[in-house]
Amino acid sequence: MRELTYAEALREGLRQAMSADERVFVMGEDIGVYGGAFGVTSGLLQEFGDMRVFDTPISEAVIAGACIGAALSGMRPVGEIQFMDFVTLSMEQLVLQAAKIRYMFGGKTSVPMVLRMPGGSGTGAAAQHSESLENWFVHVPGLKVVMPSNPYDAKGLLLAAIDDPNPVIFIEHKLLYKTKGPVPEDMYRVPLSSTRIAREGRHVTVVATSIMVNRALEAATTLAAEGIELEVVDPRTLTPLDEEPILASVRKTGKALIVHEAPGTGGYGGELAARIAGSDAFDYLEAPIRRLTGLDTPIPYNRNLERAAVPQVDDITREARKLARGEY
């Protein structure tokens, strides 16, 4: 199959959605002539014009809010927040408006919008351009949270998010934009809330999100040579979570390692661990549930410190190996 980068896959998804449905439009900072800070929207202005591709002033509150307003009045907005860090300036509109409008108004309306944003560290951009804030949104009923880990899912999940009648927080990863993978040309969807088994294995279940899926797959290759088989599970949608494939995997392996980039305290791993421990999968556990997460620190600038602050392939390999051998 044809290969695209993650950024190209997202762009193709946007282009197809905009061509298929006049209500779909994009807005954000530097998404027009510049093509977006990471190039995702490159070419869309030329193709669709400035009544479908809106370059905004630096005003994150109104980017989020305008998406909500447009969604409430018949449009299908896809907003872009240049770096996930800046969504902190949009929080009121997202948390207190977008997430609650449908419920508060007795289910009589809905907010069909998508807000895309790149999260994560690894580019040397330091503490204010490297956040992994997904759990802020996971904690707000009414928002959906999606984190694609590869080009195929990026396009398919984006198209499903645009179709979805709810506000969807769509979290991309800066280091994934240039990664390549097979992407079909048609307008396929990857349903939201569909957990994927990224690699089958029998010894340890590794539940990972976003770029950590790729790192876990690399660790799995290394460990396979040692006779340790990891089963790598990618939730893809953090909320609402399709939990059964995760529980089924843990029932099979009896061991669970949860990996994410965000700091551990208050992170998504705690939710996953609680879901596993609170289910019948608990009876199958042969070891404590382990978490490998970003450290509870802001992301430092220095290259070595930055690497040390979040899980790397070697860390996953080491932790999974220990768990497989019962050395935790």
Partner: protein
Amino acid sequence: MNPSADYLSTMLRIRAFEEKAEELYALGRVHGTMHLSIGQEATAVGVSSALREGDFLLNTHRGHGHCLAWFGSDVNLMMAEFMGREAGYCRGRGGSMHIANVEANNLGANGIVGGGLPMAAGVGMSIKMRKTDQVCVVIFGDGASNEGAFHESLNLSSIWKLPVIYVCENNQYAMSMDIRKSANVEDISQRACAYNIRGITVDGNDLAAVHDAIAQAAAECRAGQGPVLVECKTYRWRGHSKSDRQLYRTRDEVGEWQRRDPIPRYATVLGLTDDQLEAARKDAQQVIDAAVVFAENSPEPDLAAVMEGVYA
């Protein structure tokens, strides 16, 4: 203002620092990104030259010049921070976008557009409550004036008469966004009107003009007649950051502004010959070369210390 060769050498030092920064990046000796203020040096030096030691500074991602021009700044510690070393101003944790020199009341550059603006009001409150005659200067870009934070901060400073000088470094663009497309006012200083404070626009490439405007604003703030909004119109010669293809402006436009280089312009004010200017330029470059040696000889942060300093 009285002309001073020191101001010229500070501008030259900023220019040399950033040219070196660019070179180090191209050689792969630093990672991350950076925002260069080449062409805007007169604003940085004009602002600090009109203030006093003990005043406060909050500035931006494009902040190398602001920091270098501030009181008692040490170019070695700047370079070490830029290169991520333990000896740097922020022990290698902050990097290019987050250089602060808190001992000198330089409260830091900011990775968040408009991030310094609300805090400036708080510094102004503190000055007022402590009854000192300090002022707080907050530097921000044209793009930042479109954030809600700008408007909330100006309003609060206005109603409480806070000693804050708002310096808008209007280099005409916010990344790719032309200020003429993102704001429907000719001058950002017009926005002062909405908060009933004084607003003024000056040529940001004219060191003396910036200096005089800031000196007057500071005098007003110290007399309890602040805040003031000072807009300095200038231009960045380089791309927004290291990944900018600059499709939103023409080479001619850049060239036109390069002819308004603030450095030779100020050399003329000082009555220097071309040779004298070149000699001063060489001196600045030597200082920067020495700073690179200093930075490279200082250790990388200890990995075991990664969790250190999260809490006081």
